[in-house]
């Protein structure tokens, strides 16, 4: 997928958010000197190609009552991590799931899965569920809870 300047202009104009006006795509088009048709066509194409993951809202977890946001981390043999990572990523309570590098000796974990719950018990059950999926491949794990949001901004890539 090759993005051209028009795609990048649309990205720059919308990455902070969509205008809260009845015709938001027309509003973006006017800012950029494009037609509404071009803006909408490009945005639909970028969604189909995964450049736009989705259009929608991102709630603040805490404001919705999800006070327990755990980064679960697991030590998984490299030869099975892709197969198991896909399975863990498909669990409906996992918001992000990644393979990341170990930093031995202090950090033996290479599979990261973020889970969210309104109570500690909810999260504990989710962790047990992940552990069951991983089975014997789980060579060790830890859960890091966020104790404070120190900074949170939208991603800004200027393209």
């Amino acid at each position: 997928m090759i993005l051209d300047e028009t795609d990048l202009d649309i990205m720059r104009a919308t990455q902070a958010g969509l205008p809260l006006t009845p015709e938001p795509y027309q509003c973006v088009a006017e800012q950029l000197g494009l037609t509404t048709e071009v803006v909408m066509t490009r945005m639909i194409a970028m969604q189909e190609q995964g450049i736009i993951r989705r259009i929608g809202v991102i709630p603040n977890h805490y404001k919705l009552g999800y006070h327990f946001n755990g980064m679960t981390v697991w030590n998984i043999p490299d030869d099975v991590i892709d197969k198991l990572g896909e399975k863990v990523g498909q669990l409906e309570f996992v918001s992000h799931c990644y393979h990341r590098p170990r930093h031995l000796p202090e950090w033996p974990y290479n599979l990261f899965a973020m889970v969210h719950g309104k109570t500690r018990e909810d999260v504990d059950q989710q962790i047990q569920h992940i552990a069951r999926v991983l089975g014997d491949a789980n060579l060790g794990c830890d859960v890091l809870y966020s104790t404070k949001i120190l900074k949170k901004t939208g991603f800004r890539s200027r393209g």
Binding site: L3, Q15, P24, T36, V57, L64, Y66, Y98, P101, L144
Partner: protein, 147 residues
């Protein structure tokens, strides 16, 4: 936040249409007026219930770079180190976590070179070793949190 707000949040986590009058389309589906939907979204953004509304771009596919990094911050320096790290515009998120590695942050830049540059600058300014954990593979990103 009332039931209507919850309904809006749950609906708009799944997606938002690309068409001439998308708020009107969603409002009809929710049994609201277009104006009411727009006003409620504005309020939910203003009071921090929503952190964002709009298209979420895949940073790496846009040519940008991301990494997750962590530092082991001495507790008596926590506020100072937070201030140093948060001052970098490249730092998008920063969370305190209950581990020896007690500060975890996401760096987002236009190029991979700038990631390395930012990591080095953070090490120099804080005097702390930064543990860099860029993703090797992504299995899933996305979630609906029931409001």
């Amino acid at each position: 936040m009332d039931d209507i707000d919850r309904h809006i949040i749950n609906t708009l986590q799944a997606g938002f249409p690309v068409c001439d009058a998308p708020y009107q389309q969603v409002a009809m589906q929710l049994g609201l007026t277009e104006q009411a939907l727009i006003e409620r979204l504005q309020t939910l953004l203003d009071n921090g219930t929503l952190t964002r509304f709009g298209p979420l771009y895949h940073a790496e596919l846009m040519g940008g770079a991301l990494t997750l990094a962590a530092v082991k911050t001495p507790l008596d320096r926590f506020a100072e180190v937070t201030e140093i790290i948060n001052a970098f515009p490249e730092v998008a998120h920063n969370y305190a976590r209950n581990h020896a590695l007690n500060m975890w942050f996401v760096i987002a830049t236009e190029t991979p070179e700038q990631i390395r540059h930012t990591l080095t600058a953070i090490e120099q300014k804080t005097g702390l070793a930064v543990v860099n954990m860029p993703k090797i593979n992504e299995y899933f990103v996305g979630l609906k949190l029931e409001a």
